[in-house]
Symmetry: C2
Subunit: 498 residues, 2 copies
């Protein structure tokens, strides 16, 4: 290994240590921190972020990257991929002046406060001037980068390297009419019964059962843990310390099980990254969409499948005999897959979820390219809700104000949620070609073959390949909604007898 | 505020953020970290430590300190004290070359492994060559500093700024014969009964009661929390986030209560430091002895006192009616104060504890000044155990190998444990002069007056005054064992009818 490679790995290592230390502090803030610890924690996180940024954008880093680009130009090698990915990150980081980041933080902080108030009062006009400023800054951010086919490309690229607005629109454009059609067909069918899902389930038993399931999936508790937090999330401190959080909602007790599967899907991805990538920029999942393909696969394609419950339903009935009295596995399976157009994205079922996303994507693109005026947002939102889901929000709180993301300036990543669903179905078809009788395995409570396949095809590579290239490599085609449409149609045709 | 003062505070702030981030990571390592997370965590901690050190010993820091020393020479002002304390820390940090720190880490790591093996096999000869290297490095460390009256002064000063070996020897020299005499008198008396302390007590109830007690003391759970860990300790992330850990030993169930009081004593000190000192070098307790004076006061002078239990004993009996059936408050009080010379320091009672410390201090001084050869340690240890405590360790594991400290090169701070006991009694006499009827307050379960006094006299000052100066300021005399002898003699004369 060359001396310069040693030097850059040393630098990468320190940046990684700072960023992962910050992740520990953030996790602690969500999970453990006492009421008054926030101010100091904010300062500590700011300092870690600043030092990581300074180190990553240092002249030394720039020189080393420049020198090593030629020496390691083969992106098929780990070193080549590392330099390629780091050089792209470096270029992005250098384009954005620290003063802009500071300015954005101030605007976001105020916008967040305004959003909280606006949502509380269900009054978009309180949020509107702040969102206008947020969008102005997003446009300024875009201006730091070379002109793209569409300004929104710049934002997408931060979460989904290489992905273009036109591509996403095409993918979603193919999917939307089919998904809208499916939901209409379901609406015309007899609704399934799910009252038993909303009975009282004791929290501890649900929590323990969630850990039984994800342990069986292959989430490694000797390299992770599950804790209570206000929102479920996954966070990585090293390949050997990948944690998830979860919550318990008395009104929706079994949601804890599906959240655990979802977050464990993210976590198994991170636990499966090549350990040789520790402390270099390849050491994490490659993009939000690929990440979401993993979480959604374990949550939905596995966790909301009939074979899965053919194995787990008897156990569940033993633990909750009164709640599930007289409920057979088929009825249970139908209930957890009930489709019902609803107002709130985070509560949406598998069949309607993507439509919530598509609505947001179109609005984001419109805000960024100027074709949508911020003041018109509530109206446009409600119009699209009617068009896509056939329902009208009764107020802004349950409409345009429901999500936190825009308030802190986060524009560009909603689409990755839907792309993740789409990719999960493509991978599903691929693994079912490679591994025969996967469903029979699930019926026996065995998930190793799926995990081994994912490890080898996806997880191990970390950030080595760009998302579209990775999907192409593994499935033979780029991201495309056909497999997802097949999956949804088959599943819901059976459940609703379409 | 001058521009330079702004600059140095900015630097101090970043160093503090790095160090406190490291504390969060260490706490998490003890409390939460999954089995395999250690290697990456070690690297993250090393990076945070290295960056904090680099920043603190930077030329910029040196220049600013030099410039500000003259401008802020009045150590009675906060700015003056800050510069004085930081300049001393800086001088120390600059004297020790980074290469030495790295070398010491390697030796310590090997010595620690050897100690684990030696203790397991109860064979000092396995540890001996490693301890010899550790002591050689300690001598090298001392050589980086200007010659002192005694080489051990350099080590003491790291934990107890300004304290000299001769002073500690004098303090201990006055105390030892009296304490040995007291123990002999107790040994000739009728032993107290304490079998009921070792019955089965359910863990959760003990844990909850420990939190009842420390909440009543004034430990602020909105700025802290108590978690399970292998060893009890206190750690500070900010004045508003001061956490403690505790454990439950089935063989010694009520130890959890006293550990909670002890660690809460440390934590209330840190919660009471002037909030204006956040992120500058004054923001913590001033020394280990003063810290220990706080923990020991709450644990022993309060928590093992009769008035305290006159309030809490009825509650305890309600929670554990069968375990404490027929046990009155006096019998309970005597039991928790039972004196019995024993082999292991960490299990020692209040009356014998200091003798364990004095033994270690004499041996440490001898190792450092060369008057004791490492190979003779087991023999010298056992000799002193006979002389001080009247018992002989049956093997090295329960003798010279019992403590972890020397294995990682930590020589110089044992004495602070005993100094803490001594100071706690001096402060006790002082507060009882200032606050009338403190014991009556305790009988009503009220501890505010004690805490308010400690806040004002000790806590608020952080590191502003050196320990001896602080004790002088508050009690009118320097550290002196007379008050402690009075306290021990009175207490045990009553309990044992001497």
């Amino acid at each position: 290994m060359s001396e310069k490679l040693d030097q850059i790995k040393q630098l990468f290592g320190e940046v990684a240590d700072l960023n992962r230390a910050a992740s520990v502090l953030s996790w602690d803030q969500q999970v453990n921190m006492p009421q008054h610890g926030g101010e100091a924690r904010g300062q500590q996180l700011a300092t870690l972020g600043k030092l990581a940024q300074e180190k990553f954008t240092s002249d030394e880093m720039g020189r080393l990257l420049e020198d090593l680009k030629n020496e390691h130009s083969d992106a098929e090698t780990d070193e080549g991929a590392m330099i390629r990915v780091a050089a792209r990150d470096y270029d992005k980081a250098k384009r954005v002046p620290p003063s802009f980041v500071a300015k954005q933080a101030v605007v976001a902080s105020k916008a967040f406060e305004a959003w909280v108030e606006a949502k509380g009062k269900s009054d978009f006009s309180i949020f509107q001037p702040h969102l206008e400023k947020v969008v102005e800054l997003v446009k300024e951010y875009i201006s730091f980068f070379p002109p793209a086919n569409h300004p929104y490309d710049v934002l997408l690229d931060d979460y989904e390297p290489g992905m273009k607005t036109a591509e996403v629109r095409e993918i979603f454009g193919n999917l939307r009419p089919k998904q809208v059609e499916l939901i209409k067909a379901i609406a015309d069918s007899k609704q399934v019964k799910d009252d038993f899902l909303h009975k009282k389930y004791p929290e501890k038993k649900v929590w323990d059962f969630s850990e039984t399931i994800i342990t069986q999936f292959g989430y490694d508790f000797s390299r992770g843990r599950q804790d209570k937090a206000p929102h479920p999330f996954e966070t990585t401190f090293s390949v050997n310390d990948v944690r998830i959080t979860n919550r318990f909602e008395p009104g929706n007790p079994l949601a804890t099980l599906f959240s655990a599967m979802h977050e464990a899907g993210h976590a198994m991805y991170e636990q499966g990254v090549n350990p040789a990538y520790e402390r270099i920029p390849l050491a994490s999942g490659v993009s939000l969409a690929i990440h979401e393909s993993q979480s959604r696969m374990w949550e939905n394609l596995v966790g909301r499948s009939l074979p899965f419950w053919e194995y787990f339903h008897p156990q569940l009935k033993k633990i909750f005999p009164s709640q599930l009295d007289g409920v057979g596995v088929k009825a249970f399976y139908k209930a957890i897959n009930k489709v019902e157009p609803s107002l709130i994205r985070v509560n949406a079922d598998e069949a309607t979820y993507n439509l919530h996303i598509m609505l947001r994507l179109e609005i984001e693109i419109g805000m960024v390219d100027g074709s949508i005026a911020i003041k018109d947002l509530p109206e446009i939102w409600n119009e699209k809700m009617r068009e896509y889901l056939g329902i009208t929000p009764p107020d802004d709180a349950r409409g345009v104000l429901q999500d936190i993301h825009w308030s802190y300036g986060s524009i560009g990543y909603f689409s990755t949620y839907a792309l993740g669903n789409i990719v999960s179905a493509q991978l599903w078809e691929a693994v079912n070609k490679d591994v025969r009788n996967l469903e029979d395995e699930f019926r026996k409570g065995r998930f190793e073959q799926l995990l081994v396949w994912l490890r080898e095809k996806i997880h191990i590579h970390g950030r080595k390949y760009d998302p579209q290239d990775l999907v192409q490599k593994v499935t033979g085609s780029r991201i495309d909604s056909a497999a997802y449409v097949r999956y949804l149609t088959k599943k819901y045709s059976e459940i609703y007898g379409l």
